[in-house]
């Protein structure tokens, strides 16, 4: 037994969970959704063990390179899902969300990602690594869920407009409201982890809290997009389609901050 076996088991469990969720989706069996949820919870548990294992083995936080941070993002996403599912019971988003998690896990497991734990460069040896990365990624996991519910909203909305309502209980109105609630959790987390903790750490390590590094700028851009979402929604009363488009845009910005900057733009944050 080692960390990579645990990750493999986790991966298989997530695929199994998605499988049961899709049975639920196509065969309309509530029971399958319950099974899927339980398997996802078990996957989360084993994933947690794998992360703890890696932390002990490498002696540092389990998100210092792309492989580790992807694995952690998948973990945070499942955690966010378990929290949201426990609160709002929106099984129908489950299958799609599991697909995203499987995608992240597949990317993490791909041979492109070097998996060996390397000693940390001096700048990363700080407890701010834990605070900055984990809180930011958890915030992004909630953005991911808002993204999924926004896409489901757009589908449900056009169906309802055409008069095809399958009566699954998940109305477009509810999807819109869940999407908002995910942003309402993700936005403070992202602000705290990404921007505030990021500034504090930058000040401690580099001597300046803000240096317009592309990663910093792109997290500010992501923040602006979600600020736009909140203002158009709360002050101007935008709801529905326009709101959903902004959430999708915001998630794409978050995705670019996470991946794009590392691979496409030169950045101080290139630790992969």
């Amino acid at each position: 037994m080692n960390e990579s076996t645990l990750i493999l088991i986790t991966f298989i469990l997530y695929i199994l969970a998605a499988f049961f969720y899709f049975i639920f989706l196509f065969a309309k069996r509530e029971k399958s959704a319950n099974t899927g949820f339980r398997i996802a919870c078990l996957g989360l548990l084993i994933h947690t063990l794998a992360l703890i294992w890696r932390t002990i083995e490498s002696g540092h936080a389990p998100f210092t390179n792309m492989y580790e941070s992807l694995s952690f993002l998948a973990w945070a996403s499942i955690l966010a899902y378990v929290i949201i599912e426990g609160k709002y019971k929106i099984r129908k988003a489950g299958p799609y969300f599991m697909l995203i998690v499987i995608g992240i896990m597949a990317l993490a497991s791909s041979p492109l990602m070097p998996k060996e734990a390397t000693p940390l460069v001096p700048a990363l040896q700080s407890y701010w690594l834990w605070l900055h990365v984990s809180v930011t990624l958890l915030g992004e996991a909630f953005f991911a869920f808002a993204f999924i519910t926004s896409i489901l909203y757009l589908i449900a909305d056009s169906r309802e407009k055409k008069g095809i309502d399958k009566g699954s209980g998940l109305t477009s109105e509810k999807l819109d409201s869940i999407s908002y609630r995910c942003v309402a959790v993700g936005f403070p987390l992202f602000t705290l982890g990404g921007l505030v903790f990021g500034m504090v750490w930058a000040y401690k390590a580099w001597g300046t809290y803000w240096s317009w590094d592309p990663k910093e700028t792109w997290s500010l851009i992501t923040w602006f997009v979600f600020a736009l979402y909140l203002h158009t929604r709360i002050v101007l009363g935008w709801k529905g389609r326009r709101s959903a488009y902004i959430v999708i845009l915001g998630f794409l910005a978050a995705l670019f901050t996470y991946f794009g900057v590392n691979y496409l733009l030169a950045s101080l944050h290139s630790y992969t």
Partner: protein, 450 residues
């Protein structure tokens, strides 16, 4: 003036500004910032002039970008003030007289009669509401009692507090931009250097590099002392992520190196024919030393820490790390140069010597030492405290706005032929379902109570 204020108090302006600032920021990540003119010419050709003229190459510090941020700040300030005063009035001096029909028009309402006197009904309602942490204001007028019960009222100000935090951050950024400065100080062990614009000095007591087992650097540690009038005030080991702060100046570990201009070298001479003969000489760069053997003087003209021949076949150093240290050695006898050439510490058999007079001697570079210096970045940034205060205020505001929902219950108590009639309505900013169930709970237990 009034129309100007109206212009800046518009949320639509805020939205337009957010969009413009976002697009400008994206542009700044696509065009590499603060590079040389030559690089821009190579990259953008004839457009490079326009880009430089429009300050696109130093976008985040350009006048127009800072101007946008300034307008944005003004917009936030006026918007917030504009919304704050009516809100404050509502919270601090609420209207304590309600119309029955208005209460019943609210979605969450309740109305019932109970055989209570006016006083005992007031007591009952107050007790029930305060057990649920509501704060209650009472007004009695024309035989009616009006009650206003509220909790988590601070939640109403969440967005205003967020905006206040943002303004503090923007203000801090302005201070930083105007008055922060930073310099690099290279300081060797034992050296004392004055600090720019400060009345104290800095001394490096000790500098060490720690390595991981695989040879990569784990950490750099500089033990620094602050000296005031040559008296040590404070000593701290500075490492990456652990700076030293003193009187608003902050000192960071940022780089390291060796003073290779002034190395201390150790040269060993051996005899090809007599392996038992060795002679070791310590010398500095340019210094001439007389050997005990054969009336020969040697001197070292050059030292390089990481020897390499560049594309023009000239001697150069690849890095400042002592990976391949080499010296250019000269030997003299009776005022005449007899040999010269490079010798290498790590490759003793690979000497490149030119000899005019044959000698029996072979030279090796056995030791090379130079004072190591620590690269300390010094910065002073008076804006930074505003930034941290702003961050705390911002997070507090976000928590209030997203998790602390204000609730308000309005109640009219009226005497109706010996019975008390209770009319109530409730209003919650968010999470309305939770409030509705609380509201219903309050009135269920009021009906049941004696």
């Amino acid at each position: 003036m009034k129309s100007l204020i109206r212009f800046f108090s518009s949320v639509k302006l805020a939205i337009v500004l957010i969009i413009i600032i976002t697009l400008a920021s994206i542009l700044g990540t696509l065009i590499p910032q603060q590079r040389s003119i030559a690089e821009y010419t190579a990259r953008y050709g004839q457009f490079s002039n326009i880009l430089i003229r429009l300050e696109m190459t130093n976008l985040y510090h350009s006048l127009w970008y800072i101007g946008l941020l300034f307008f944005f700040s003004l917009n936030i300030l006026i918007c917030t003030l504009n919304r704050l005063s009516p809100k404050l009035r509502r919270v601090l001096r609420p209207k304590l007289e309600f119309e029955k029909k208005n209460l019943l028009a609210v979605k969450i309402n309740n109305r019932f009669k109970k055989s209570w006197s006016m006083d005992s009904s007031e007591e009952g309602v107050k007790k029930e509401l305060s057990s649920r942490h509501y704060r209650i204001k009472v007004n009695k007028k024309d035989g009616k009692t009006y009650l206003l019960a509220r909790k988590k009222t601070l939640g109403l100000f969440g967005s205003d507090i967020v905006h206040l935090g943002l303004l503090a951050i923007l203000l801090g950024a302005i201070f930083s931009g105007i008055s922060s400065f930073r310099t690099n100080i290279n300081i060797s062990e034992g050296q004392i250097v004055p600090v720019l614009n400060a009345d104290f000095k800095l001394k490096l007591n000790k500098f060490e590099t720690e390595y991981w087992p695989n040879g990569s650097v784990k950490d750099w540690k500089s033990t620094l002392s602050v000296l005031e009038n040559d008296n040590p005030i404070l000593t701290k080991t500075v490492e990456v992520n652990h700076p030293l702060s003193y009187k608003g100046f902050v000192f960071y570990q940022s780089s390291y190196g060796w003073d290779w201009e002034n190395p201390t070298l150790e040269i060993r001479a051996i005899k090809n024919t007599d392996p038992s003969f060795t002679e070791i000489m310590k010398l500095r760069l340019g210094e001439k030393i007389k050997m005990e053997e054969g009336n020969i003087e040697i001197s070292v003209l050059h030292f390089v820490p990481d020897f390499i021949l560049n594309e023009k076949n000239e001697v150069a150093t690849r890095s400042l790390e002592p990976n391949n240290p080499a010296v250019f050695l000269e030997g003299w006898q009776d005022g005449e140069k007899i040999f010269s050439g490079w010798i290498f510490a790590k490759y003793p058999d690979f000497a490149r010597m030119h000899s005019n007079v044959e000698t029996d001697l072979k030279f090796e570079l056995k030791g090379y030492e130079a004072a190591q210096y620590s690269g300390i970045q010094m910065s002073k940034d008076p804006g930074v405290n505003y930034i941290w205060a702003g961050c705390v205020i911002l997070m507090l505001g976000l928590c209030l706005a997203f998790f602390w929902f204000s609730r308000e219950i309005k109640i009219i108590l009226e005497d109706d032929q010996g019975k008390a009639e209770i009319i109530a309505s409730g209003l919650a900013a968010k999470s309305k379902e939770a409030f509705q169930s609380e509201f219903e709970g309050i009135f269920t237990s009021l009906r049941r109570s004696k």
